[in-house]
Symmetry: D2
Subunit: 335 residues, 4 copies
Amino acid sequence: MIILLRNEADPKNVSALKERLAGWNVKVSSADVFGTEALKLEGDLDKVDFSLVKSFDCVSTITKTGDPFKFASRRNYPEKTVIEVGGVKIGDGSFNVIAGPCSVESDEQICGIAASVKESGATILRGGAFKPRTSPYAFQGLKARGIEMLSEAKKRTGMPVISEIVDISSLPYFEHVDIIQVGARNMQNFELLKELGHINKPVLLKRGPANTIEEFLLSAEYILSGGNRNVILCERGVRTFESMTRNTLDIAAIPILKKLSHLPVFADPSHACGRSDIVPAIAIACCAAGADGVMVEVHNDPVNAFSDGAQSITPAAFSEMMKKIRAVSKINETV
Amino acid sequence: MIILLRNEADPKNVSALKERLAGWNVKVSSADVFGTEALKLEGDLDKVDFSLVKSFDCVSTITKTGDPFKFASRRNYPEKTVIEVGGVKIGDGSFNVIAGPCSVESDEQICGIAASVKESGATILRGGAFKPRTSPYAFQGLKARGIEMLSEAKKRTGMPVISEIVDISSLPYFEHVDIIQVGARNMQNFELLKELGHINKPVLLKRGPANTIEEFLLSAEYILSGGNRNVILCERGVRTFESMTRNTLDIAAIPILKKLSHLPVFADPSHACGRSDIVPAIAIACCAAGADGVMVEVHNDPVNAFSDGAQSITPAAFSEMMKKIRAVSKINETV
Amino acid sequence: MIILLRNEADPKNVSALKERLAGWNVKVSSADVFGTEALKLEGDLDKVDFSLVKSFDCVSTITKTGDPFKFASRRNYPEKTVIEVGGVKIGDGSFNVIAGPCSVESDEQICGIAASVKESGATILRGGAFKPRTSPYAFQGLKARGIEMLSEAKKRTGMPVISEIVDISSLPYFEHVDIIQVGARNMQNFELLKELGHINKPVLLKRGPANTIEEFLLSAEYILSGGNRNVILCERGVRTFESMTRNTLDIAAIPILKKLSHLPVFADPSHACGRSDIVPAIAIACCAAGADGVMVEVHNDPVNAFSDGAQSITPAAFSEMMKKIRAVSKINETV
Amino acid sequence: MIILLRNEADPKNVSALKERLAGWNVKVSSADVFGTEALKLEGDLDKVDFSLVKSFDCVSTITKTGDPFKFASRRNYPEKTVIEVGGVKIGDGSFNVIAGPCSVESDEQICGIAASVKESGATILRGGAFKPRTSPYAFQGLKARGIEMLSEAKKRTGMPVISEIVDISSLPYFEHVDIIQVGARNMQNFELLKELGHINKPVLLKRGPANTIEEFLLSAEYILSGGNRNVILCERGVRTFESMTRNTLDIAAIPILKKLSHLPVFADPSHACGRSDIVPAIAIACCAAGADGVMVEVHNDPVNAFSDGAQSITPAAFSEMMKKIRAVSKINETV
């Protein structure tokens, strides 16, 4: 890391800065650049507070070398991470579609949808059991019972399953869940992330609606640095002023995340859009943009869904969408 | 339009509202709905200030019928608008690629790029001559001389051309320009829009980075209601907190605009992303999402471009991108 | 709740809607309004999924009566909530200043700052012990030991203290903490909020940077509906494209929250701005806008702060700020 | 300007960069910093495209010295700009209140409001005649006739007046208008700004809802660099996801603009909030934050206003607000 000082820097301020740097136990060297002083920092830079360094009047610019997210960085780990669950490979260049209802509602519902989406080409089944809801008065999920139903659907169809965790205390229920999902609202629930760093299951981490790509990768880093290297990144929209959609899917995040990181990158057009009519078009666009997969809410009877009915597509619409997805993903592989 | 009043509405406030409505010369009828009063408004509702109506304490909700953008509305005009310029059809279901440099720099530059992008499959040539720049100290374009060079490239290649207008006073220079572009910063320059409503040339209107889809369509309405029905809508990103891209392309705006309006819908991944490395991926995604076309900045020598070099792709990258674009647009037509 | 149907509604869609409504066990009545059908819903509307209802083609508008946040609503509970801790009254019309360091670092540090801010007029002492940090490699707080130091400062100065909780498992350490803070990143950590609804301590809840005022009040509702009625709301900025500040403090949220809710409203200019030079001006503005208090980071030696040094003001700057705060809050009381 | 290269920079890329820099006719010197190359640029740097330089792989960081906005910069011109119109001093440390209706509607209306706000302490009268409206079907202002009415009110009350310009062609009508306002939507209508740089009248420039503080100052620079040094900056809210207000007033922009520039800084709580009930609280907060003035929409009969009735306050509310404004501005001067 190199700190370039200002030309007209006050020597007292420079001394204060150097003293401060010394306190972090990093090696500081000095050099002259065109008559201005430059400082080089070496050692364990993790504890250095860069916002603070930047706030010194004498500091002009700070040049960091390397990514702040170490384990997530493609620069540090060029080889792409391939995750295998239940016979499905994620991140190997193939395109995976996670499909299923927002909430698990009954054995019939989840097993019916599972069979249907599998037939259309979905490779992983989703189903929510522990639901984080904006209002305390909204349906909060079937909880443990929902996970049991999801496991039943897994047994019957042979598909690996994914479900969302909202609190570490419910981890024991996830024994038969293949991928644990961390929702957008919990992207910076660092205590949860730390715990998930110590388990041995793949984690699909969604980007928070007010979080930058760098913050997203730093949240992934909480899991990776704990020892769990099986993280799937999932873009699901940032919050903007546009009210015709629930959020604004950041389509550019897909190729950027692929460049910055070796982790698989998914997108969730259902939550990003919040309206089923445009979900297929956006899912196909995410595939075309180079994602490793998408997660789509499918419900046999959206009108009677326990939650998120407005953004769930029918099995028929899903089947239509899959035709285009297959064609586009073939282009990605061959053209 | 129906106004539902509150249950516990203050009669004095209700009287004030009715008096106010009367002042706009609209017909007001009254009905009882579950013990609450409802008002129906008929007549010329254009002058009614809905924010004001909504600010009355006694008003619960306002139900508008019909779109505020009349000529742009697909509900009012279900048939899709097809625009023909120089033998090219826009909005007819085919996918058109507008390509060329940010700024016209010389005869050689624009003619060279034109020949190259044409060969790769571009159908329309872009080139800026009048440049709106954030800083008064930045290059402001070759102006009239740039338009001449663009016309020369048009003559040599036979491609129709598009260029940006920044002030109505320069309209005479656009005689040989086939499509006039209104940039994002001028999306609400209503005086300019009004003037363009009176001419006979297609206008490509870009969405402003802080504008909703409804405001975008209302800006198109300024042109359409003036008599010029040849408007192309172009999504080019909204402003968000993410700093890894210049703006955040609102991919969902593409299918939504197609639903709400009969006008052709384009996207501009170059200005949305601001970095050339991801432009091809995003252009392909826009095609997959159902756009009628994209506009891409291509420069033979991005490093020496007079402007926007960082977001311009090379003719070679453009040619690669076109292969995928062709394949994806074929899927849209056949699957 | 009243649902107004569209004029040209498809009868099959209307039937589907009515069937769906019936499924939620609410009483549905029908009436004619200007030739269009209107439905009235009565009963327990908490389970009704309004996004879903709105997604029916036949639905024109939905009119809700009453606030979705029931216990937080001033309409339902007009009397202002006054919270008393350690002899300090919050929300009674007086202006309270919470001050202290971002992180508790040592006994000397916290006790020194406590004495100093108390002398300048602060009424509550803050100090972070469990720190949520964007990067896993940043300082994570002194944890239990930090809380002990904070308690020591409380004992010596007699000031009530506030500290942030990041996980319910650490609740036992907060025995001597007077107010528990929930940070912006945990505003929608609903499991944490539910638990805090069952305790008997005041909670200061910060608004998330991507959350609306309504969502903020619904998060407060999680605590309130659990039985804990002592919630303090704290505005701390929303995320925007502006990069000269960390976030954009939503000053209008202060008078709006005061109107919508009876709960005390605070603001946190330190985290909103992220730079100490403008913190005093913004703190004074929050007071002028009608807040019940502000929370300000003060550090005796910002340059050597363990965290957030860039946004911490010195005791001297704090003392200056307090003079103006006192003068402005006096105006609020008298003019 | 100093460019720091990457440690592992590709020599070919470095050569390409140097060649590119040479093309801009700037002097380039080279130096070694800790084994890495640094380049210093001197000369006329205005034409250098920094986004392009930054896009070179070999470039690590760019250190600019000095502000991009030269004439607007306080660093370059430390002395505060004081503007005098019709006996009123703006920017001299006093607090000025611009008040009046959104639209001029009649002689009686504008003269009546003028007399009333003058009595309460307003020093400048506002009144719109040329109105930029989102919809082409909304009231577009009384135009020339409105300006005449405003001039009449000026004659009767002796107050200087301000009105918005939307197109340079209407400049002749502004002969008796003391301050020309450029609205938020035209902040980057550079052709208009250039023209206003050549006249001799003060210009109040509003910040665009999607524009950064730096872009705002660069727009001011268009006017200043043309020769017109009498520019007043006006913060009026940025666009966010919050829908309870029209925009989110960036209160922090006030002290930041005061630091960065010597120009007077105003705020417009009426347009930022879009609802009259909170305008007084926010206006007072802007005063407390250090603004040189505010602009507030006042209407004798908001309910019958031709435009913006929802955000206009009554003369009575204005008078109440002025009492607090006076008290707070006195604190700013004395404490």
